[in-house]
Symmetry: C2
Subunit: 185 residues, 2 copies
Amino acid sequence: MASTPPESSYAILGLIDKLPSSSGHELAAAADRSFAHFWPISRTLLYRELNRLATLKWVTSTRVEQTRLPSKWTYRITDDGERALAAWLSGPVTNAGSYRNDVLLRFFFAHRLSATEVHALLEDYRKRLLAQRDELAALTDKLGSIYTPAARMGRISALHGLRTAEARLGWVEEARAELSDDNTR
Amino acid sequence: MASTPPESSYAILGLIDKLPSSSGHELAAAADRSFAHFWPISRTLLYRELNRLATLKWVTSTRVEQTRLPSKWTYRITDDGERALAAWLSGPVTNAGSYRNDVLLRFFFAHRLSATEVHALLEDYRKRLLAQRDELAALTDKLGSIYTPAARMGRISALHGLRTAEARLGWVEEARAELSDDNTR
DNA sequence: GTTCCCATGTAACCCGTTACATGATTTT
DNA sequence: AAAATCATGTAACGGGTTACATGGGAAC
């Protein structure tokens, strides 16, 4: 009774499907370029998942010798893998919504902080959000000029993060306004 | 060289500071009521963290016998605990921003799905977001009528989730619009 | 001559989750 | 008679992270 693999397995499987005959190294780079902003995959995890996919026979691995570069493994999706990918894609979404935010956690206990410290906390958050927003805006722009279905999906995904960051930047202003009228009451 | 405890330890520590002489059970209920929407704590984790806090001597635990209810442990923050809490609060934020979204992950590989399936995916997401938004709107409203500093912070925290949900609902519409003009090109 | 890129891993850790256990009392 | 509340746990698992290892070739 093999339990279902984690979502990250399917993330990698989907990448292999998209980019056949890639090496782990290339897949890692592709993951960083494409979905890292909503589904980060560390190097170690990547290689572990490649192993899992191979033992599940969802992918095949081939050794490729190179002359001036180190030898590498390349991966291709199998029929079983394609079925698994399709089933996962149309299957139920498991944990949409769970997320943790340690800025909010600190903010929640901010009655123990001075006004300046609360301000610093919000300002730090704002800076992070700004950086995030700019990054995603740049990505959206870049993908906007590429006319492939993959780029289109990538762009819309990036838009999700962009809209989220924008909304949260708005929240920072809202929070500041709320906190500044502590004269009322 | 004791490594720093996880963020959840401080979440519990902060709660004990706010609600002295509470039992684990009461703290769990308080956590569910207050910051569960951005920092969920499972029952098991709660009790584990209470243990950790006690061995760190950041809290003291006292056994309280009850006549018609089971005996319980109650917790109080120590001076060491207060110092640790203050240091954490004004210390650097560690992982603001990391979050995973499995709807987006599926969406990213949606070229393998039919238009109807993509639509179903988005619709499912929309429903979750709507439920989330309504829940947070209700919470914001409820806290808006309580005039304590704690309630105020709770309300602003809830607002963060509310704004996020609203923005993402907007994104769903955006995504739909983008996907429907596949006649262009 | 140091640093970056290619390329693939191992070891260890730990936070968080799920499932299960117990047992009295009060409410429906 | 069943279900909810109070109250506190244990056991087992696993996904993800961080740190470390290796080793050649190319670039600055």
